[in-house]
Symmetry: C2
Subunit: 384 residues, 2 copies
């Protein structure tokens, strides 16, 4: 028997009742019933994103939402500031390049959080920048960035603050309105507990003013078209409406648990996972870990694939390795969405056993114990 | 009891076993298992599209595939010929406009098939046109266009032939390679028997030559990026991979039935539906009906919504009305994908009863009988 356990930073596990929604007979996407689903979902998404702004539903993966955020806000030839601190942050720059947008890259070492003072400096040097593109949780490095502090800096300027919250929103505190996030992008397959296929974008009045000022070179990702239809709880094109039906079920779960409780659960999972990994003598990769995943360095003399493959083979646990320049150097364990504290403890137990199998010297139970100590509040967290 | 029956020209009914695939626990999209699914699906899609060309999988609705087809093939400022014969054909023009592409509209009256001679004429007048954008089955009018004949015309020129096969492919004969279709767009929620959320695009070597000649202003819909990943049975961004898993199940069903048999089944359903509608004294809207849906004019003195709402209320049958300038004037009955001849007969029986309820004079059983006569081969089909 091999029981599958998805511990990747997206896709994340989907609750059984949400999966079953997907098996229901398909209805028509322009029916009163479908509109009723979007009506309920629209309210639930505002709660998740902590916003009173419009939230648009796109049938695309998170990258589609990022593209919508770029092409609708910055006209061709315009300037954007990219807070480049990882694989996915760099994607903002790639999208800008594809559209002839001048991208000013503010580079931060992978694994380090972006320094808000450097954002202020970049905005001073580039007062003509239309927008600052940042990241809440950089999935490639497992780093949580100080979005609230950066938001304060950007809000004081005419520039928009656009945030990739794809793997972060729902897994760590994020308040679009209170933190001055003008455009927030979210994916379905992370803390929102759905399969991939939907993305969500919130847009502030400050952002709409920029968006309304020009005709973007896009059709499918037109936020103006999406806003118009969303007012009638509809979409401009046939949406992945069976996923929207499942989203309703996921959002009902989220409402029942409450956003603040969800953030706390992820914080506990994150702290427990960090403590467990460190108790094994492993080094956390990020100086400021995000709360939906934990990244640690592959110990010297070991291969990431040996560890990850054995986790799958023995315990059905899927994790991911490093991306881009981190390939082979780190392992990332996801703990977001339909995942609880005991899943993390079980994952750490498996990691202990796999490392031991591979000849890594460990004290059996040390990671589990450290995690449990965090969970029962006996031990303060000490990130690197 | 109200038993739902989806008789819309997309979304179309999804087989129960395909729906159940969607309820399976989510796996990781970069796993060996996920790659294996794409490998099998890639072969199945080639069979459905009747092509040896690359077929790319996009996480988007059909319109996303149309946008990919436009933006990757025609550079900004380039010229395109649009075979404008309905609501969805007109969308080709809207997409061109969004990207600064000059669209030459070859208008055909809604409900009439495009005349290949007019395509030849347009190509002669506009030898600089990069591509001709047409439609296999125009869902808004229920018209099937002579794609094979148009393909011959376009193939003799340097222009590409790009076809919206979103609601047509799988429901009526379409042979991408044999008919000279350079780019063929297909949606998941029609004859492919899936929910919406995926789209497919095949690209010929002639089209790749144009695509490779410039950098398109797109990122998410980059066909070059999709081709590169598809060679490894992967996708550039997180795909809606649970839908791809369900696609595998749908494609296995398609393989079992065989493409030619599927085209024949749709032809029989289409002819039976047309015969039934005409036996009621109703007028078919299209001079050349497509095979996945039947459009008929709302009889004088009746409201389309009265008929359609009563079909839903009494028999759970969802149909659609007219779009754009046909709003209120026609009713469209879908019969594609997981729909068989008896579903059509049952739909006609319901239509008879609903029309009778509303005071429309009918001979009970006449539509059903006419359809059955077609199905048992006693009656030749006589379109308008």
């Amino acid at each position: 028997m091999r029981k599958p356990r998805l511990m990747t930073p997206g896709p994340a596990p989907v609750p059984e009742d949400v999966l079953l929604e997907l098996a229901r007979p398909v209805i028509h996407h322009r029916s009163a019933e479908a509109k009723q689903v979007i009506t309920e979902v629209a309210a639930g998404l505002k709660e998740v994103l902590q916003t009173q702004n419009d939230v648009m539903i796109l049938t695309a993966s998170g990258t589609g939402a990022m593209e919508a955020a770029v092409v609708n806000t910055v006209p061709p030839g315009g300037k954007a500031i990219i807070l480049n601190a990882g694989h996915f942050a760099a994607r903002w720059g790639d999208i800008c390049k594809a559209y002839g947008i001048s991208a000013v890259m503010v580079d931060t070492e992978w694994g380090q959080p972006v320094d808000p003072a450097r954002v202020a400096e970049a905005l001073k040097q580039h007062p003509d920048a239309v927008a600052v593109f940042g990241t809440l949780s950089e999935t490639s490095t497992g780093t949580g960035h100080p979005v609230e502090a950066i938001g304060k800096v950007v809000a004081a300027t005419p520039a928009l603050f656009v945030v990739d919250g794809i793997s972060g929103v729902g897994a760590m505190e994020c308040r679009a309105d209170a933190w001055g996030i003008d455009v927030l992008c979210v994916g379905s397959q992370k803390a929102l507990m759905l399969p991939p296929g939907l993305a969500f974008v919130s847009v502030s009045p400050k952002a709409w003013a920029k968006i309304d000022a020009f005709d973007a070179h896009t059709f499918y990702f037109s936020l103006k078209a999406a806003r118009k239809k969303m007012k009638e709880f509809d979409t401009p094109f046939t949406p992945a409406h069976t996923l929207i039906l499942a989203l309703r079920a996921a959002l009902r779960r989220i409402k029942d648990e409450g956003m603040e409780n969800i953030w706390l659960r992820h914080k506990r999972m994150s702290e427990a996972c960090q403590a467990g990994v460190q108790a094994l003598g492993l080094e956390l990769f990020s100086a400021q870990p995000a709360e939906g995943l934990t990244a640690f360095r592959v110990p010297d003399g070991f291969k990431d694939t040996d560890i990850r493959n054995r986790l799958v083979d023995k315990f059905g646990i899927t994790t991911v390795g490093g991306q881009g320049k981190l390939k082979g150097q780190i392992i990332r364990i996801g703990h977001m969405g339909y995942t609880d504290e005991i899943d993390v403890v079980a994952g750490l137990a498996a990691l202990e056993m796999v490392l031991s199998d591979l000849g890594f010297e460990i004290e059996p139970g040390c990671a589990v114990t450290a995690a449990q100590q965090v969970l029962i509040g006996q031990k303060a967290v000490s990130p690197r």
